[in-house]
């Protein structure tokens, strides 16, 4: 199995397009860091208006922990696009190049082959998140230092003590790994049906965009739908920054996402095993 995964990983990391995601995340993080370095105080003053009307805020708000939170909030919306670029290409890309039929002539079961492709996709997803964690947390701390983390929520303000933050980020990135794997599993599943990778990439992004809009709009009709949308649970990492941590909903969201991953994977195996491969 490991050999199969290695081959799939080789295929992924051999393609230049794989590195577009790493460069894109690097560029976005560096731009955000530069923006905060140059004009962070004004940005903070604008964002803090609702609070500073009543309170004098003293101390260093602008620190590595806050910037990492902003980057996570911004990037976890965009990272799914970068993940679908690879996940949506896993099967459909082979079909497009005409190598899928050839690949299936090897003495490996379809399920094992698919599992190897899926695990290689997850390795890529995790590598992207580790890169993102390094840039957004380690580099932010290096440039801006540490301190208390102030989070503005819709109805409350949470201030977390500086020495109580790092483990939350570890948890947040672990949660993000589950969330992004769900996106990868969806794109991978859709990839089974297509003959080229554009279809699954666009379909996955469309699903995520529509679901995210439904998840973020505070309208009663949509509120009933929210618990059933996986995008509602994708931002569950934020629950780790509550005080106290909302463990039950966070764990529930993680389990729901894991169930999504398993269902998408099993559905992929089922469909792929039944599929008549013509390309």
């Amino acid at each position: 199995m490991w050999k199969l995964i290695s081959i799939e990983l080789y295929k992924i990391f051999r393609r230049p397009r794989t590195y577009i995601s790493f460069v894109a995340i690097g560029a976005i993080v560096v731009l955000i860091l530069l923006a905060f370095y140059a004009d962070g105080e004004n940005y903070m003053a604008f964002g803090m208006q609702a609070l500073t009307q009543t309170f004098d805020v003293q101390g260093s708000l602008l620190n590595g922990y806050l910037i990492c939170f902003v980057i996570l909030q911004t990037l976890l919306i965009h990272v799914p696009l970068l993940i679908t670029l690879i996940a949506g290409d896993q099967v459909a890309g082979e079909a497009n190049m005409g190598t899928l039929r050839l690949l299936l002539t090897k003495p490996v079961s379809r399920s094992r082959l698919l599992l190897a492709k899926f695990l290689a996709t997850i390795v890529y997803t995790l590598a992207l998140l580790v890169w993102m964690a390094f840039l957004s947390l380690a580099v932010s701390i290096l440039v801006f230092g540490t301190g208390d983390l102030l989070i503005l929520k819709s109805e409350e303000v949470v201030v977390l003590s500086g020495n109580d933050v790092l483990w939350r980020y570890a948890g947040a990135f672990a949660f993000a790994a589950i969330a992004m794997s769900t996106v990868a599993a969806l794109a991978f599943f859709l990839s089974i049906f297509a003959e080229n990778s554009i279809g699954p990439i666009v379909s996955t992004m469309s699903v995520i965009i529509v679901f995210t809009i439904l998840s973020s709009l505070d309208i009663p009709v949509f509120n009933a739908l929210k618990p059933y949308l996986f995008t509602t649970h994708i931002i569950g990492w934020k629950g780790l920054f509550d005080d106290p941590v909302a463990w039950v909903p966070v764990c529930k969201s993680a389990v729901i996402l894991l169930v999504h991953i398993i269902v998408f994977l099993l559905a992929s195996v089922f469909v792929f095993n039944k599929k008549d491969i013509l390309s």
């Binding site: 609702a50 609070l51 009307q53 009543t54 309170f55 004098d56 805020v57 003293q58 101390g59 260093s60 708000l61 909030q73 540490t146 301190g147 208390d148 102030l150 503005l152 929520k153 819709s154 109805e155 409350e156 303000v157 949470v158 201030v159 977390l160 003590s161 500086g162 109580d164 998840s215 973020s216 709009l217 505070d218 929210k226 618990p227 509602t232 649970h233 931002i235 569950g236 990492w237 934020k238 629950g239 509550d242 005080d243 909302a246 039950v248 909903p249 966070v250 529930k252 969201s253």
Partner: protein, 233 residues
């Protein structure tokens, strides 16, 4: 005619005398309080700050509190963030009273926390003073202020409750409880991208009637040792 007017005249005289005496005693009491406070030119204190506001979750923190005459006051959390209500100068009695001129009017006496306290109402002489009216509840014997209620021009009414210990001689409290009004806080969910699983503050709300509370328990004061300008910048 004379015997009819005499009682009224005497009543008027006695009212004037008692009024003058009480005004004088309020002034004297304020002078006693101020003279005690003015001995403290500056201080740096270590303390523990606890904040209780419906919509703010902030851990209790060790803070440094700085004061310098006449009314420079700052609460700093080392490497951290501290939130203080705007206009919360009266959290420090020294900052509330020092360097300011007031007309003191006696408001009688009241009992609080097992003490008989003189009520002194202060009207600022300066027209553009931030404080519009302040009421001090003073223990006349020790000239220590145990409670203040200050109404400000822009930031509403603040109340402080003070308790004293080893720094009572300098008029510095061991603990200050500061009560203030809080206005509603809300940001659109579209901006904050709220996680649905997070607990809503309404679930945890206490019956605080929109009032916030900050308490600072002082552990140690360093008095008249000088405080650098950079602290107040």
């Amino acid at each position: 005619m004379l015997h009819r007017c005499l009682p009224i005249f005497l009543l008027f005289i006695s009212y004037m005398v008692s009024n003058h005496t009480s005004a004088q005693s309020a002034d004297d009491l304020l002078k006693k309080v101020k003279s005690r406070l003015e001995k403290v030119k500056d201080y740096a204190a270590d303390g523990n700050m606890k904040m209780d506001v419906d919509f703010i979750r902030i851990p209790d923190a060790k803070v440094k509190v700085y004061f310098r005459q006449p009314d420079q006051f700052r609460v700093i959390k080392e490497n951290g963030i501290s939130l203080l209500p705007k206009g919360g100068l009266s959290i420090s009695l020294n900052a509330l009273l020092s360097g300011k001129e007031f007309v003191a009017v006696s408001g009688g006496t009241t009992n609080a926390a097992g003490r008989s306290l003189s009520v002194v109402k202060l009207l600022p002489i300066k027209e553009n003073s931030e404080i519009v009216l302040a009421t001090l509840y003073i223990d006349a014997a020790s000239a220590l202020v145990y409670r203040t209620v200050a109404t400000t021009r822009d930031n509403g009414t603040f109340e402080t409750q003070l308790s004293y210990g080893k720094y009572a001689d300098q008029g510095l409290p061991d603990e200050v409880v500061f009560l203030f009004n809080t206005s509603a806080y809300k940001l659109p969910k579209g901006i904050t991208m709220e996680y649905e699983g997070s607990k809503k503050p309404a679930d945890r709300k206490t019956a605080s009637n929109g009032q916030g509370k900050i308490s600072i328990r002082y552990e140690r004061y360093e008095i008249n040792k000088g405080v650098p300008d950079s602290i107040f910048k």
